[in-house]
Symmetry: C2
Subunit: 316 residues, 2 copies
């Protein structure tokens, strides 16, 4: 299994730079005081389509040779990856085919349509999604871009941590949420290459703790009936991702949904920025003292900001 | 009546720079597309204490001579000015005395206390606030710092527009919400001095339209039973503020609460930042086509981000 190395992330960065935002890194005096730490938040909630996913999708789309590209790209997703892939494809002037469960939220359908993707609806089961996607690919010849278990996607996601370190120097700790492992695997490659002394800590909701079980169990244990407010982190680790995480991640910690909501609210109120629940998982781990950040320079990747404000009463 | 001129704002800027954040200016491709404009948002929601008020309060506190300063500063306020004055006083190492209605929200009491101010509670009427403040000043010898009808406060508030223009060059329009007129008067002085060709437009909720009536009536018409979701804009124009606004503002427009909520939501969802309703009034005016921004480079001051998330169901 060939996994990306740092030079792949460097190449990805050159490829995606014309398309992405180099997102800002924010700090908060009041959070630093509360946690006796020095926290740096990489704001991928300000990224295009509102999430880091646009980095990986862009790198995957822009890496295709012309012959492949002209047949388009395809994925099944109802989340940020679908919107990210749709916009990346539009930027290259090619088609994106997205398979979505028919019960996907209206707001997500509109976002993906708004970026010009062609949506095929299917039954809301993983099997239906996979067979429908296979059919679409057979008919169109499009290239499948998996949301995280993909070499170029991982290389693209690693550019966020690369920018964080380039813009803010050395760190003691880099914290990152983990779902399928795309962001975490890319982040861990950049961190270990640029700052060999820094520790990479993966943060996961306890209600979807497959990365925790896989990391400490030494093999992939899939997500079974995950249940957490952090709806971007429900999926199971990819094979490629696990391979990278195994050797580049120092620790996986889990946090309660209660702490996730508390952390999310803290960031909204004190930093005046909107993040989605998945982005709040690292700060939740700090709140629950699963990570000792005292006196340490700590980088945190805020993965995205796509919250449905109609459902905000679920949180506060 | 002596009003500040641009050199007073320049002096204020030197004085406050060590204490304030030079807040970022954000843009949004999607909002620019929707409104066919080129919008630049000056993010005072990221200012210390979460609002531009910290600029004016800091300038007022740091302008006092040592003899006056040692007796402290005082104000009556239940809003952002009280917290701003408390922090500014703490930064100078002097006392702040804040008179607050006893029914002020718990969250505001805590914020002001947290910055070390001494609070005196009173009945929730303007008369009680004024007589209580007079008593506190008599007892302590503190200097009253009015939230907007104050030379140094106005000079401090003008530094936000000064930074906006310094960092982003020329503008066709500068839009600003108006309540008591502190931000608007400072903004208008900076804009007209730095960019004589730019227009300054004041934006006001129709449910608190005293600035509109005063500007077009040629004299101050106080706010009577104001009723708007933009709770930072309920007060009447100050005399000093009106004097400045009369000659430096090109237009006052009013907007509905419905548009204010729509604009606030648009900024939360698309820009992923938290602003309070008062900050959304200029974009509300654009939504309601009260201001023609098409093809124009437009600066908008986002005045603050202090929203009580427990009351968020009032908005969405």
């Amino acid at each position: 299994m060939q996994t990306p190395i740092f030079s792949d992330i460097q190449k990805a960065h050159k490829r995606v730079e014309p398309f992405i935002h180099r997102t800002p890194v924010l700090t908060s005096n009041s959070l630093n005081k509360i946690f006796h730490s020095n926290l740096f938040f990489k704001c991928e909630n300000f990224q295009k389509v509102g999430a880091f996913k646009f980095r990986g999708a862009t790198n995957a789309v822009m890496s295709l040779n012309d012959e492949k590209a002209q047949k388009g790209v395809a994925t099944h997703s109802s989340g940020n990856h679908a919107a990210a892939l749709a916009l990346a494809a539009r930027n290259r002037g090619i088609k994106a085919y997205v398979v979505m469960p028919e019960n996907a939220p209206e707001i997500k359908k509109k976002a993906v349509e708004g970026y010009g993707a062609e949506i095929t609806f299917c039954q809301p089961t993983l099997e239906a999604r996979e067979t429908t996607l296979a059919k679409v690919i057979e008919q169109t010849g499009a290239t499948e871009i998996h949301p995280y278990n993909n070499f170029e996607v991982i290389s693209g996601q690693g550019t966020a941590a690369k920018e964080l370190i380039e813009d803010n120097g050395s760190f003691d700790l880099i914290l990152c949420p983990v779902g399928g492992g795309g962001l975490l695997s890319g982040t861990s490659i950049s961190t270990k290459s640029m700052l060999p002394g820094a520790k990479v800590i993966a943060c996961e909701p306890v209600g979807a703790d497959d990365a925790y079980r896989s990391f400490y169990g030494g093999q992939i244990h899939p997500s079974v009936n995950p249940n957490t407010i952090a709806d971007g982190l429900l999926t199971s680790l990819g094979k490629l991702n696990f391979e990278i995480i195994k050797s580049n991640t120092d620790k996986v910690v889990t946090t309660s949904d209660e702490a996730i909501v508390k952390a999310m609210r803290m960031i909204w109120e004190r930093m005046k920025i909107i993040i989605e629940p998945s982005s709040a998982v690292p700060l939740a781990a700090i709140i629950e003292k699963k990570i000792d950040v005292e006196g340490k320079k700590t980088g945190i990747i805020l993965s995205g900001g796509n919250v449905d404000l109609n459902k905000i009463s679920n949180y506060f």
